[in-house]
């Protein structure tokens, strides 16, 4: 009995004149052109992230991150509910900065999610977060405020390099590769852009190094 799959493939092949097992010869291409040239990865990343309504801070070393985060949070309404952090960042001295963080994935009521990144992209001011053990995808999604810690060394020029980076590090793609470019938004009512749709209302980036 032929299946829907067989019938669809048969129609595709009869339309195209292709045969089963035929492997297309793709032309070898130079890398795709960038939409906007990248002159300086850190400067361009910062400027483009800010144009996407992310806020950006820059500190010299990892040890300075908790105080930078505390400084940022001081300008927001007080955090009364949970503040979660990716386990790989839990060893920083958060308590010393007066912050009570928990190393776990986020629940809907949590107010702040602090994450690392796999890499970042200067062409568009984008963060790349890979899923996996300790890399809770909910930390950058459910809380109102997402804070991402980005070592400047992981800022790459373009998306192609970011994919290559993930593959190099993980061997194959993890369940989710999430490119994040600013706080969630919608323009579904009267084409008016409103920041803070279903995801975070704020994305704050702390550059390190």
């Amino acid at each position: 009995m032929s299946t829907a799959r067989d019938r669809i493939l048969a129609r595709v092949r009869s339309g195209l004149g292709t045969r089963a097992g035929e492997v297309p010869d793709r032309p070898v291409r130079s890398p795709a052109p960038l939409a906007r040239p990248v002159h300086d990865r850190v400067t361009d990343f910062r400027q483009r992230a800010e144009s996407l309504q992310s806020t950006v801070d820059h500190v010299d070393e990892m040890d300075a991150v908790p105080l930078a985060v505390a400084r940022y949070l001081a300008g927001l309404p007080p955090v009364t509910n949970g503040m979660v952090v990716w386990p790989e960042l839990a060893a920083l001295d958060w308590a010393g900065a007066g912050l009570a963080v928990e190393a776990r994935s986020a629940l809907s009521a949590d107010q702040v999610g602090i994450t690392g990144v796999c890499c970042a992209i200067a062409e568009t001011g984008t963060l790349l977060l890979d899923s996996g053990p300790g890399h809770s995808a909910t930390a950058s999604l459910l809380p109102e405020t997402h804070i991402a810690v980005v070592p400047v060394a992981v800022i790459l020029e373009r998306m192609e390099e970011a994919f290559a980076q993930v593959l190099a590090r993980r061997g194959e793609l993890p369940r989710a590769v999430n490119f994040i470019s600013g706080p969630s938004r919608t323009a579904d009512i009267e084409q008016t852009i409103v920041i803070g749709a279903h995801g975070p209302r704020r994305v704050h980036i702390v550059l390190v190094g």
């Binding site: 299946t3 829907a4 799959r5 669809i8 493939l9 129609r11 595709v12 339309g15 195209l16 004149g17 292709t18 035929e22 297309p24 793709r26 890398p31 795709a32 052109p33 960038l34 939409a35 906007r36 040239p37 483009r48 996407l52 994935s105 809907s108 568009t124 984008t126 899923s131 996996g132 053990p133 809770s136 995808a137 909910t138 999604l141 373009r158 998306m159 192609e160 994919f163 194959e172 793609l173 369940r175 989710a176 590769v177 999430n178 490119f179 994040i180 470019s181 706080p183 969630s184 938004r185 919608t186 579904d188 009512i189 009267e190 084409q191 409103v194 803070g196 749709a197 279903h198 995801g199």
Partner: protein
């Protein structure tokens, strides 16, 4: 979805007379074109990006069978179940089967135009499964029980007051004119639904063959919730959406958001592969992809082949003067605007959407902005030709074209007919020089006056001017030797 594309003219009539809709179209329609223009203006060489995107999409289609199988093999290896559906109805049954087997009670959806093709929500609802649309526009329309009127801004035809009235009715909240407050209300209302659902249904902007992934492009974050929180995720998408590699995806993403909303990149691009990572505590336990044909395979290798390059950005409708005036619902099926004028007859059958390929002035604005260079006006012209060849146009239209052809092939008669035609039109126009009503062609004069012809026919004018020019030429030729002789005399007088 039930189509009303066969009664396009009646649909248009109703929409043109709908003052509220007309006001909304005027107020919100232009924003997309302005934003796209600004986004393209920030790019060094947008044409080069379009070239690359078009090449990739064209290449995939020439060996679609290979790329689909490559996708299937890799997705399966990563633990995604790949299903094939010949029709929308089949896709619904597959999805229902998955839901039943997994004991699903509540489904949350992010935007999927293919699920609009198949009418998925009604089928799930009839099976006693609660479905909630979570894209803000789609949620508004679910409350209003209306189909989307735009492929990326589904509720663009609604004003804030209409949205507010819907929310008041369904949420029991007071009316407001504050748009951020309305968005906040939807956020508060939908958050628990995200957390309670046991199945998430999404579309799929692209399928990546080399990694077996589904790529989803969103702004609100609902797409991420739908694919992260419930224990089952099902992506439902068309068979033409494959891209060979992640590099191809990167290249296409340089044109898609810029052409759609005028963003350099959307807030979220999620590339999803397989099920929950070992040792992770979020992500679905089951992941499915339903590949839907529903008329697509028939187009391959045929006259409409290039329409399958479409990446669903909506730029063609955002720049279409016809869409801007009638809105998306008038087109009567899932896809409005120029691409809808091609896909609707292509998927449903030409006889079910006869007037859609005619719903264009062929101004070609759509072709100029299409990020994958689909020759939209040419495809509409092809469909018009097919309608004529298959005898699908109304008898009076066919008769008048035949009459005109006969006349045009008899130049002497044509000259007489046009000379008399001018007189008749002038007589019909009367004193103000405007024809208000053309007997037999009332449709044309119903909404506009036609200025009466002035002067003589083109052919008469041509003949008169030619004669005048010849006479002038002769006169000049006659005058020239005299002038030269005079000049010669002047020179000889010089010292």
């Amino acid at each position: 979805m039930d189509a009303t594309s066969h009664s396009f003219k009646r649909n248009v009539h109703a929409r043109l007379g709908d003052e509220a809709l007309q006001a909304n179209l005027r107020r919100f329609g232009g924003g997309f074109a302005d934003r796209r223009r600004d986004a393209v203006g920030r790019v060094d060489d947008f044409e080069a990006l379009r070239d690359r995107a078009s090449e990739i999409r064209a290449e995939v289609l020439t060996h679609l069978d290979h790329w689909l199988l490559a996708f299937e093999a890799e997705a399966t290896r990563r633990g995604t179940a790949v299903h094939w559906a010949e029709t929308g109805a089949e896709a619904n049954q597959i999805l229902l089967g998955i839901a039943r087997a997994a004991g699903v009670q509540r489904v949350i959806k992010s935007k999927s135009m293919v699920s609009e093709e198949s009418g998925l929500n009604a089928v799930l609802g009839a099976a006693g499964i609660e479905v909630t649309e979570t894209d803000l526009g789609e949620y508004i329309l679910q409350l209003a029980d209306e189909p989307p009127s735009h492929i990326i801004a589904p509720a663009i035809h609604k004003s804030r007051d209409e949205v507010s009235a819907l929310f008041a009715e369904h949420h029991g909240t007071p009316l407001t004119r504050d748009i951020p407050a309305l968005c906040e209300e939807a956020r508060q209302h939908l958050r628990p639904r995200f957390l309670q659902a046991d199945m998430g249904v999404s579309g799929g902007n692209f399928l990546i063959a080399e990694t077996g992934s589904v790529a989803i492009v969103t702004n609100e974050g609902n797409g991420r919730m739908v694919t992260t929180l419930p224990r089952v995720h099902v992506a439902i998408t068309g068979i033409e959406k494959v891209l060979p590699t992640l590099d191809d995806l990167s290249a296409i993403l340089r044109v898609l958001p810029r052409s759609a909303t005028g963003q350099d990149i959307t807030n979220y691009v999620s590339v999803l592969t397989g099920t929950r990572d070992a040792g992770a505590d979020d992500g679905p336990e089951q992941n499915h992809v339903i590949l839907v044909d529903n008329g697509r395979s028939r187009l391959l290798g045929g006259a409409l082949h290039d329409a399958l390059r479409c990446i669903r950005c909506g730029a063609c409708m955002n720049h279409c003067p016809v869409y801007q005036n009638i809105g998306g619902h008038a087109y009567g099926w899932v896809y409005p605007g120029p691409i809808g004028a091609i896909l609707t007859p292509a998927f449903l059958g030409l006889e079910k959407a006869l007037d859609l390929p005619q719903a264009s002035t062929l101004c070609a604005a759509c072709e100029v902005v299409c990020p994958v260079r689909i020759p939209l006006p040419e495809l509409m012209r092809t469909l018009r030709e097919q309608e004529m060849e298959q005898g699908l146009r109304p008898w009076h239209e066919r008769l008048s074209i035949r009459l005109w052809r006969w006349l045009a092939l008899h130049p002497a008669l044509y000259a007489v007919a046009t000379r008399w035609g001018i007189r008749v039109l002038r007589w019909l126009a009367g004193k103000d020089g405007q024809v208000h009503r053309l007997p037999g062609l009332d449709g044309w004069t119903e909404g506009r006056d036609m200025p009466a012809p002035q002067g003589s026919t083109f052919r008469d004018q041509w003949r008169t001017q030619l004669a005048a020019r010849e006479a002038q030429g002769k006169a000049r030729a006659a005058a020239t030797p005299v002038a030269m002789a005079a000049a010669g005399a002047a020179r000889s007088k010089a010292p």
